[in-house]
């Protein structure tokens, strides 16, 4: 193709998304929102994988396969995560992460 | 039968762990099933341990038997190397036995918040850690098992422990006894272990000098003892000393012990006293002395000083206690002082004394904690001022308490005597090169310690067992020793008497191994 597509443009975009995810993870109180942030981070990882695949020119679509796995596991994670949040909410009438300090002395 | 030789020890170590995992699959509500399962697993472990003891070649007690040596973590040269010799065999059997007895005892005795499954699972994991420590012949493996016992015990104390609130000097807040004790126990031990690990790593790297591959293998390290010398060896010994001394515990690293013992549930106290404390002193015999014999000689007077301080200090502290369990806990400080005094002499007699002292202390103090727990179970208090006339209210329980107290104060003819007597015997003539005057002074102080021991034990008996029961208990019906308690205690009682009358039960296994150890380690000064 001979196109002038720079690898880093994808990677940096992914990094930005990832960092935003981290920020959300740290700052959100609501557990659902925390999960959303995690999803964002996973998306960033997927971008990385696909971009790297394109860069390395693999013929076996390794990056994409990994991304498929990540998407699947992420879906499972969301399912379980929401179920847990639901349970916590039932027991404590709140889904705020910072109130979950049972482990504190 | 070759198969048994290979698998026996690994089974003894990992069967409880596997059993614990399976127990987790049993529904929580089916308590009987869980108990039976735990009993079965620990029972099989004990049977295996007994078979190992029976098939053990007593003629070659100084050699490691049932040995397995497989590559494990190749990158750091850590091997899965296990085996027993005459030194570890009695302790291994003791450990397997005590776990079974604890399972039986806890059949009908549960501290809040109940949950037998959780408790038994922790107990089985603990069993893996304890058995593993006694058979490990690789420092990494040893470290892992040594640390493995921490977690279950932490949870046992923290969850099933004493729920009363307690004011800690220096803190404004009142905290729950169990939480304070559990965290203190954990952090204290971890603090020691950190140094210990440092010592292990130092040994590992140093063992690589001179064109050899660095190794964690204990027998191999013993063979390379010549590599470790001077300040390096001194520091390494010190680091390991910290780790082991906390576990023993030696004065002044003992303060976690009274708290942990007092707060722990009965079975926790028993395991703590009977086995966990032995891990430290065992490590001295297994690791510190053989690998660094020259340094051990430099450290011996220091260890002896701490030991005799511990003996006197523990006994005196006992006299000031008002809580039965705390008293027994402090008595452990004194008794382990004798064990360490024996080790510090670096003689055959002294180290033998330490081993039989460990076994005896495990049997006796384990039983004492059982008794204290059962009394607490019935009176719901451990305050000695409120108890009294126990022998009248519960003749059998009181009788066993009297018997055990006598054993604990070192009555000749019962197990406790030999450890004390031989420790003193050893210190009259320590290893050549150690100051005789110094150790003889230690002997005299230690002998005075036996008097103080008798003092607090008799005093405790008078307070708790004798006299008229206080009016508080008038008209209350007390259930004397029940079936489960009896089954759990009788083996201990029988063993206390048996070892007392015929110490060869223990010493017959250990002597050859100890003699070999001392001769190898100190051939230079023994002139042999």
């Amino acid at each position: 193709m001979g196109v002038e597509v720079i690898l880093n443009q994808f990677l940096i975009l992914a990094a930005v998304l990832f960092v935003m995810g981290v920020y959300g993870l740290l700052v959100r109180r609501n557990a659902v929102m925390v999960l959303l942030a995690v999803e964002l981070m996973l998306a960033a990882v997927n971008i990385n994988l696909v971009a790297m695949e394109a860069f390395w020119q693999t013929t076996e679509a390794l990056g994409q396969i990994l991304a498929v796995f990540i998407i699947t596991v992420a879906a499972a994670e969301v399912g379980i995560g929401l179920a847990i949040i639901l349970l916590i909410f039932r027991n404590r009438r709140s889904a705020n992460v910072d109130e979950l300090d049972l482990m504190r002395w | 039968m070759e198969l048994f030789e290979i698998w026996a020890l690994s089974l003894i170590v990992f069967l409880p762990l596997a059993g614990a995992l399976v127990a987790l699959a049993i529904p929580k509500e089916r308590e009987e099933a869980v108990k039976l399962w735990a009993l079965g697993v620990s029972g099989v472990t004990l049977i295996l341990a007994v078979i190992v003891a029976a098939r053990f070649d007593f003629g070659a007690a100084g050699r490691f038997q049932f040995e397995v040596d497989l590559p494990w973590i190749g990158a750091i040269g850590a091997n899965y190397h296990i085996g027993v010799d005459g030194i570890s065999l009695p302790l291994l059997v003791l450990s397997a036995l005590v776990v079974v007895l604890c399972v039986i005892y806890s059949w009908k005795h549960w501290d809040e918040p109940h949950n037998p499954r959780g408790f038994l699972v922790l107990m089985l994991i603990l069993a893996t850690g304890m058995n593993g420590t006694f058979v490990a012949l690789d420092l990494v493996l040893f470290f892992i098992f040594f640390e493995l016992v921490l977690l279950p015990m932490y949870f046992m104390i923290g969850i099933w422990g004493d729920r009363t609130m307690r004011k800690i000097p220096g803190f404004k807040k009142e905290v729950e006894t169990r939480l304070y004790a559990a965290i203190k126990f954990f952090i204290f031990t971890l603090f020691g272990s950190a140094f210990m690990l440092l010592g292990f790593l130092a040994l590992y790297f140093k063992s690589g000098s001179g064109g050899l591959d660095p190794t964690f293998d204990i027998p191999e390290l013993i063979g390379r003892g010549f590599l470790f010398e001077g300040t390096f060896a001194w520091l390494v010994f010190g680091a390991m000393f910290l780790g082991f001394a906390v576990k023993v515990p030696m004065w002044p690293f003992h303060t976690w012990l009274p708290d942990a013992h007092t707060a722990a549930p009965t079975v926790g106290s028993v395991l703590l006293a009977a086995i966990l404390l032995k891990l430290g002193s065992y490590a001295f015999i297994r690791i510190s002395i053989p690998i660094l014999p020259e340094t051990a000689r430099e450290w011996a007077p220091f260890i002896a000083v701490l030991s005799v301080i511990g003996i006197i200090y523990g006994s005196l502290a006992c006299l000031a206690q008002t809580d039965v369990k705390r008293l027994i806990a402090f008595s452990s400080v004194g008794h382990m002082g004798f064990v360490m005094l024996g080790i510090a002499t670096l003689t055959e007699v002294g180290i033998n004394a330490a081993i039989i002292g460990m076994v005896a202390h495990g049997l006796i103090t384990g039983l004492l904690f059982f008794l204290a727990g059962s009394m607490h179970h019935r009176y719901h208090t451990r305050e000695m001022s409120r108890l009294g006339g126990n022998l009248k209210l519960m003749p059998v329980l009181g009788g066993i308490l009297g018997f055990t107290a006598m054993a604990s104060l070192g009555l000749p003819g019962l197990a406790g005597f030999w450890g004390e007597f031989m420790a003193l015997l050893g210190s009259y003539q320590p290893l050549p090169g150690l100051s005789t005057d110094f150790f003889r002074t230690a002997m005299v102080i230690g002998a005075i310690g036996t008097v103080l021991t008798a003092g607090y034990m008799l005093w405790m008996l008078q307070k708790v067992n004798l006299g008229e029961p206080s009016s508080e208990w008038a008209g209350k019906k007390f259930h004397d020793v029940d079936r489960y308690e009896m089954i759990a205690w009788v083996p201990l009682i029988v063993l206390i008497v048996a070892v007392g009358v015929y110490p060869k039960l223990v010493l017959g296994v250990t002597t050859d191994a100890v003699v070999g150890l001392v001769e190898t380690a100190f051939s230079s000064v023994l002139g042999g």
Partner: protein, 681 residues
């Protein structure tokens, strides 16, 4: 016969130069005598309650068996050849060449002890069966009595010092159990504790002494000790005096020598049969036995220790006799009398009178057991220990009265009762060995002895009855043992009349030694009439004075017991020389200020350091936390949890609980690590 060069039986035995039989199966199975009472103890504890006589039958049966067995041994030992046999079973090899063994030994000394324990024990056991009828815990009482006798047999049958310690402390334990039999009263349990504890203190000496001997010789065997002593071994030489004094300290505890005697009078808290057994056969004789057993050590190497021993013995024999003059409790009179007599024995053995000391032990066992059982019979009748509640009992209790008087006369040393002969032997030995001052003190002691016995008999059996209720004679099962003991109390002295060797029986001296070998002590071959007369005169004078002072006529004048109150001396005696105060003061010092100080140090100093480290970490960490996380501070400083949060992941997880905070710090830490790895390292 004058001692001409010492050859101990032990050394001779090793050289095979002795004329002694082995005693055949009676020796080979003599261990049964040691095991029997121990088994009886177990059987009674486990099954006693279901038995018809609550276990008494087992205890008595075993004791009877022992008496028969030991009598056979005694007879075998009387012949021309003695009996010498030993058997040991190794119970442990402990390294350093040392071996622990259990076993039994059959020689003159131990046979004598076997027989005394069995004979006195049987009488006491039978008596106790009557005495304890209707009392609480009879089963356990007999179990403990069996343990008491069994431990004593283990002690005297021991061929080595380690087994000696086992029996030694077993005796202590049994005495603890028996003295504290009525433990509902704190006084009794305290008395039991005092007995056990005083002994335990003295045992430190014994144990260290044994350790020294064992390590130095590489063996705990009496044979080796005696051989080493006879050879003036270079190994043993330098430590001999130390070891000897240490062993003696142990013996002082058991044999109630000044100042370790304080436990014994209090030990009267136990039932009377216990006192009888303890004072005659099983406990207090142990110290004398130990001294006799290790006699070669004192005779040969540790002569420097002997003045100290004689001093202690002399103080005991005179000073403690005086105490018997002022107490009201009849059992305490006898207790102090025992202490005083033990002083005689100890002095004798220490002065070199091996035979003399043991002979007195032998005769004393019978008449003192007799006196205690008689006192028990009286107490049984009047339900009080105090002589001020007695009086005039001779009409009510004829058997008790007669036997008690026989015992008293024997104790006072009146010709020809047993006490006369043994006391005379002691005096003769002291005189021969040149301890003249001690000898005259001993004569004075004989006077005191007679005096307080006359007082006791007068106050108890003569005058008017001062108690309540109607005293009555005790049942046959109790009086029979009294008469049984009265016989040896009268005739036991005949076996050792100087210069007289009875046909068939031989003499006591020959019992104790193995034929043709001298024990190396002095043994009078003829009666020193002057000395005998002096001793007898002192005794008669004491009896007369006691009768005058406390007899019926005096009692009519003054009802109070102690109408002679010597100023200065009387309060001192009443307060038992203030020794109890000293002992209690020492115990209190340890118990209270010292123990509390240690506990305080533990809680506030050592634990304080631990907690302070924790607190410091908290402080540091909370500082860090504030810096990192200005806005997040809730205002409440959970010192502990924040502190831990600074200390690392583990602590944080335990103590803080804010997941996101961890995550943040995780990322930050990761960053730090990466930066560290990339830019710094």
């Amino acid at each position: 016969m004058v001692n001409a060069g010492l050859t101990t039986i032990y050394l001779a035995a090793e050289e095979g130069a002795i004329h002694a039989g082995t005693g055949g199966i009676w020796s080979e199975w003599a261990g049964l005598m040691l095991i029997g009472p121990m088994l009886a103890f177990l059987v009674i504890v486990m099954f006693g309650k279901r038995m018809r006589y609550q276990g008494a039958e087992v205890a008595i049966g075993v004791m009877a068996f022992n008496l028969i067995w030991s009598t056979v041994l005694l007879v075998l030992n009387m012949g021309d050849e003695g009996v010498l046999y030993e058997r040991s079973i190794e119970i442990a090899r402990v390294g350093g060449g040392l071996v622990f063994e259990l076993g039994w030994m059959v020689d003159g000394l131990s046979i004598m002890m076997y027989w005394v324990v069995a004979a006195v024990g049987l009488a006491v056991f039978v008596y106790a069966h009557g005495y304890m009828k209707g009392e609480i815990r009879v089963t356990f009482f007999f179990a403990a009595l069996s343990l008491f006798a069994g431990s004593m047999l283990v002690l005297v049958g021991s061929p080595n010092l380690v087994q000696l310690i086992i029996g030694w402390e077993g005796v202590g334990l049994a005495s603890y159990l028996l003295i504290g039999h009525y433990w509902e009263d704190k006084e009794n349990s305290s008395a039991a504790m005092k007995a056990f504890y005083t002994n335990k203190v003295a045992d430190v000496g014994l144990i260290i002494g044994v350790i020294i001997i064992g390590v130095v010789l590489g063996s705990f065997h009496y044979w080796d000790l005696a051989a080493a002593a006879a050879e003036h071994s270079d190994l043993l030489g330098p430590v001999a005096v130390t070891a000897a004094i240490l062993l003696f300290i142990g013996a002082m505890g058991k044999s109630a020598q000044f100042p370790f005697h304080i436990w014994l009078p209090d030990a009267m808290a136990g039932p009377t049969p216990v006192s009888a057994l303890m004072h005659a056969a099983t406990m207090v004789t142990a110290g004398i036995y130990l001294m006799a057993r290790t006699f070669p050590l004192y005779q040969e190497l540790a002569t420097a220790a002997r003045p100290w021993m004689i001093a202690a013995g002399t103080i005991t024999l005179f000073g403690m006799g005086l105490l018997a003059l002022v107490v009201d409790d009849i059992k305490r009179v006898l207790a102090y009398s025992t202490v005083s007599q033990l002083g005689y024995m100890m002095t004798a053995v220490a002065a070199g009178g091996y035979t003399a000391g043991l002979f007195h032990l032998f005769t004393h066992a019978f008449f003192k057991a007799l006196l205690f059982l008689g006192a028990g019979s009286v107490i049984h009748a009047v339900h009080s220990n105090n002589m001020s509640d007695m009086g005039g009992l001779r009409h009510h209790m004829p058997h008790t009265y007669r036997t008690f008087v026989i015992g008293s006369l024997a104790l006072a040393g009146i010709f020809p009762l047993s006490g006369f002969w043994s006391k005379d032997e002691i005096l003769a030995t002291l005189g021969y060995e040149g301890y003249n001052l001690v000898m005259w003190i001993a004569v004075a002691g004989a006077f005191v002895t007679a005096f307080y016995m006359a007082r006791a008999v007068s106050l108890t059996f003569f005058g008017e009855y001062r108690g309540h209720g109607h005293p009555h004679e005790s049942p046959r099962i109790m009086t029979a043992p009294l008469w049984a003991l009265a016989v040896p109390a009268v005739i036991a002295g005949l076996v050792n009349i100087p210069g007289l060797k009875l046909p068939l029986i031989g003499s006591f001296t020959s019992w104790l030694s193995v034929r043709s070998v001298s024990m190396g002590d002095h043994h009078a071959e003829s009666i020193d009439l002057g000395l005998a007369a002096a001793g007898l005169a002192a005794a008669v004078a004491g009896l007369w004075l006691g009768w005058v002072a406390f007899g019926p006529k005096a009692a009519k004048r003054r009802a109070e017991r102690d109408w002679v109150e010597v100023p200065g001396l009387y309060p001192l005696l009443r307060q038992k020389y203030y020794l109890d105060h000293v002992a209690l003061g020492m115990v209190w010092t340890i118990r209270s200020p010292l123990a509390r100080a240690v506990n305080w140090v533990n809680d506030y100093v050592i634990d304080g350091v631990v907690n302070m480290v924790g607190a410091l970490c908290q402080g540091l960490a909370s500082l860090v936390y504030r810096g990192v996380d200005q806005r997040g501070i809730d205002g409440v400083v959970h010192g502990v949890s924040y502190g831990a949060s600074g200390m690392g992941g583990l602590l944080r997880r335990i103590q803080s609980g804010r997941v996101q905070q961890y995550a943040g710090l995780l990322v930050a830490g990761l960053l730090l690590l990466v930066v560290l790895v990339l830019f710094v390292l």
